[in-house]
Subunit: 132 residues, 2 copies
DNA sequence: AAAGGGCTTGACGCTAACGTAAACTGGTGT
DNA sequence: ACACCAGTTTACGTTAGCGTCAAGCCCTTT
């Protein structure tokens, strides 16, 4: 018994994620999404898998990754794409990415600390100004 | 008594940061850098301040910020640019940026956790394969 | 003086990530 | 039958962030 999938159209998906259909088609063109084509190429339909992928893509974008970087990262999730001895490569690549993520997080933390520092200086300065 | 400043040329600075002179000029064009012009517009010379700024710019880039976002952020450091009542605005803006940074860090951490999860699954799978 | 090295200012080229418009198709209500 | 709407492909336009010449200036070395 197959579970009933809530398949939605491209504009519905676009609306849901606050982007345009064009963007979604572009992601497909770049090989990031692979929607179901309803009976002999009529419409694209998107299910849970594509929604999950799109979510990852948009998060990647917010974090400043390029589409090709994101593509490589989400392909790590595709078990069927990484069969056999490809597994070792996937694992090794995953480790590299994880380390890069760690570095980025540290840089973010650093930047935040600096901004916070200046922020506090400013706040004090402001307090003195208003107190007089 | 003025401190002797170690002013360097554009290509020296470029070499130091592993970028090209063109990139540095572009940042100036965008209002991110303001080097000293040696005696009646002959050459650009870069001191400690520009080096610090460039460092921030490049870090911002690595973290996926646009040049205009970076510009706004480093302008928070410029005391002289934010005089008088502008201080309140600067402080408020700084708080917004700090919160955004916090969110980004959390997203990064989330992404890392997911990748790590899949990574461990893969590693186990790989172990079982090689053990047979 | 001539040649070279490093700097300068244009100006055009290029890629990524879409925006946007045109023209076509396919189902649906009236 | 006709209009309409939502989807499709194709293709050209646009912006950011530089790369890559071209042509000229200044200073030093030969």
């Amino acid at each position: 018994m197959v579970v009933e999938q809530p398949l939605v159209s491209i504009s519905n998906l676009a609306e849901e994620f606050l982007i345009t259909p064009r963007t979604i088609r572009y992601y497909e063109e770049m090989g990031l999404l692979t929607p179901v084509h309803h009976e002999k190429m009529s419409q694209r339909l998107y299910g849970a898998r594509e929604r999950a992928r799109l979510k990852l893509i948009l998060r990647g974008k917010r974090l400043g990754f390029s589409l090709s970087e994101i593509k490589e990262m989400i392909n790590l999730y595709d078990i069927d794409r990484t069969e056999g001895l490809q597994l070792e490569r996937a694992v090794a690549y995953g480790e590299k990415r994880l380390q890069e993520l760690e570095e980025k997080i540290q840089e973010f933390t650093l930047l935040k600390a600096e901004l916070l520092d200046y922020h506090q200086q400013f706040t004090e300065l402001l307090k003195k100004c208003t107190e007089e």
